[in-house]
């Protein structure tokens, strides 16, 4: 299987405090990789190194390499804006812009100048909303404010917004943690659906979720990668004692 992202010897620091230790990991193309681990273990921090979102923290620093399609994204002169277009992100709490539903999805298309005409823009918005399984629910109120949607709908809108710029990778930082079970189920179905076109990395604190949706799972603890294996194996016959303890709920 082809690797989409390969991370090697990655260390991450907040100022002097080290938050990630020597992480090496391959993320295969068009698969779902889940990051699990107790809170504070660095899984979200790690996720955010993959689209250099941590650049927004002034004291953060990174060593090691993150190669996406063979290109080191931490190389000097990397176009971070272009990188983030290629590596989309969905956040823990839905964060629609104070605009209409349509304009939220159209935002990334417009700033990147992806569309060729107005009709093309509308088609792309429709496709993104359809891919995010939201089109049927919002097609009659595209011009109304995004804040009128329910929590689950807002999150799917944010997914649609990320899909609209045609990324190749989608990072999801606990995308369902603020949602009720029914909305969560819809997001999970959607994530599995999206695998056909996208490489997906999902951080979750919910182990059943990881087991249900992912192909491979990585277990983190205290900033270290403890184990990385196919999900099936991870949840039935893990290599590491720590992993087993965590999955069976024996600590914490």
């Amino acid at each position: 299987m082809e690797s989409k992202i390969s991370i090697s010897n990655l260390d991450f620091f907040y100022g002097k405090a080290q938050a990630l230790f020597d992480i090496t990991l391959e993320i295969p193309e068009r698969q779902i990789v889940a990051f699990i681990g107790p809170s504070g273990c660095g899984k979200s921090t790690f996720l955010r190194t993959l689209n250099r979102m941590n650049d927004t923290i002034p004291i953060a620093s990174v060593t090691g390499t993150v190669m996406i399609d063979g290109e080191d994204i931490y190389k000097a002169g990397t176009d971070v804006v272009a990188l983030r277009r290629k590596v989309g992100m969905v956040f823990q709490k839905s964060n629609p812009f104070p605009k209409s539903i349509f304009d939220n999805v159209a935002y990334g298309i417009r700033i990147n100048g992806i569309h060729t005409s107005k009709a093309d823009l509308a088609a792309r918005v429709q496709k993104a909303l359809a891919d995010a399984a939201l089109w049927d629910e919002v097609k009659d109120r595209l011009t109304t404010s995004a804040f009128g949607l329910s929590g689950g709908q807002q999150q799917r809108l944010c997914i649609a917004r990320a899909l609209a710029v045609q990324p190749e990778v989608i990072l999801m930082d606990e995308p369902a943690s603020a949602l009720d079970p029914i909305a969560t189920q819809k997001i999970e179905e959607l994530v599995v659906e999206l695998k056909r076109e996208y490489t997906i990395v999902i951080v979750t604190h919910n182990m059943q979720q990881a087991a249900r949706v992912s192909d491979k799972t990585a277990f983190f603890m205290l900033g270290k990668l403890i184990e990385y294996n196919p999900t099936q194996k991870m949840f039935t016959n893990p290599d590491e004692k720590l992993t087993e303890d965590y999955i069976t709920g024996r600590f914490g």
């Binding site: 804006v81 700033i111 990147n112 060729t116």
Partner: protein, 281 residues
């Protein structure tokens, strides 16, 4: 398609850099203006500053003169404003923070903020009708009262903000010991917020020391040393105004020298407060 996207991308980068430069230019512009004004005052002011200037009273043009009585007048009126405005302002602030989560508190808060924005010359007119007209003359009392009214809402709102910073656990700790509410506010909360309130008060004092408009027709001016609140009183700011708008070069020079004293004082207070709060928070 790839081509148009690339050109869009280039354009976006250019716009981005351009806006970064533009916003930085705005910041550089504003700070340069400040530095220019301050250094201009320093250069102009120092050239006519002397000990005699600081102690003399205004004299007919050509015979020297100074701002001694103006310094005394400003100090006396500011002191009166502090004595009247500070306790009332702090009390109002404590009310807003500790009891003010109701409709009355909301109205007071709203009106206080609006009062802060009302032109100070309006306060001057108010005191003129309330104090000067019945007394039949302008006075240091009227000037001090006008400054107290300007100070009051500022002190009230900063006090409220400072008290809100006191952690609730401190209140609960005292209440759990069986202290009545007023003792908690008076003995625990107020001392905990004291340094914050003091810095707020200092900024308010800096502000009223620079006020001119409310003094123009309440305290008026005086060419002599005056130590009585029932008489017209000189102030640094009104004296600067008179010197600045006078026809003679020597008056203008004295205006710059007096400005150096006034702005120096205000800047020292502001920088001092900045230094204090920086260490604390």
């Amino acid at each position: 398609m790839a081509n148009t996207e690339q050109s869009v991308h280039r354009k976006r980068r250019i716009v981005n850099s351009l806006m970064t430069i533009l916003t930085a230019a705005c910041a550089v512009f504003a700070t340069s203006i400040l530095l220019f004004i301050i250094s201009y005052i320093a250069i102009q002011g120092f050239s006519s500053l002397s000990f005699q200037f600081l102690t003399d009273t205004p004299k007919p043009v050509g015979e020297g003169g100074g701002i001694g009585n103006a310094i005394v007048g400003s100090a006396m009126m500011t002191a009166l404003a502090v004595v009247l405005g500070l306790p009332v302002g702090i009390a109002a602030g404590v009310y807003l923070a500790e009891y003010g989560k109701n409709w009355f508190g909301n109205i007071v808060r709203f009106v206080a903020d609006t009062l802060i924005g009302i032109p100070s010359i309006i306060i001057g007119i108010f005191i003129y009708t309330l104090v000067v007209m019945p007394m039949g003359r302008q006075s240091g009392l009227a000037g001090g009262l006008a400054l107290a009214i300007i100070m009051l809402p500022i002190v009230a709102r900063t006090t409220e903000e400072m008290i809100r910073l006191v952690p609730n656990s401190m209140r609960e700790g005292a209440l759990a010991l069986g202290a009545p509410q007023w003792r908690v506010s008076w003995n625990i909360v107020l001392p905990a917020a004291a340094s914050g309130i003091a810095t707020g008060a200092m900024l308010a004092i800096a502000r009223i020391t620079g006020e001119t408009a409310p003094l123009l027709f309440t305290a008026l001016n005086s060419r002599f040393y005056n130590f009585f609140y029932d008489q017209p009183m000189s102030s640094l700011t009104v004296q600067i105004y008179n010197y600045a708008t006078g026809p003679f070069e020597v008056e203008h020079a004295m205006a710059w020298a007096a400005t150096l004293i006034l702005v120096g004082l205000i800047l020292v207070i502001n920088i001092f407060v900045r230094f204090l709060t920086r260490k604390k928070f």
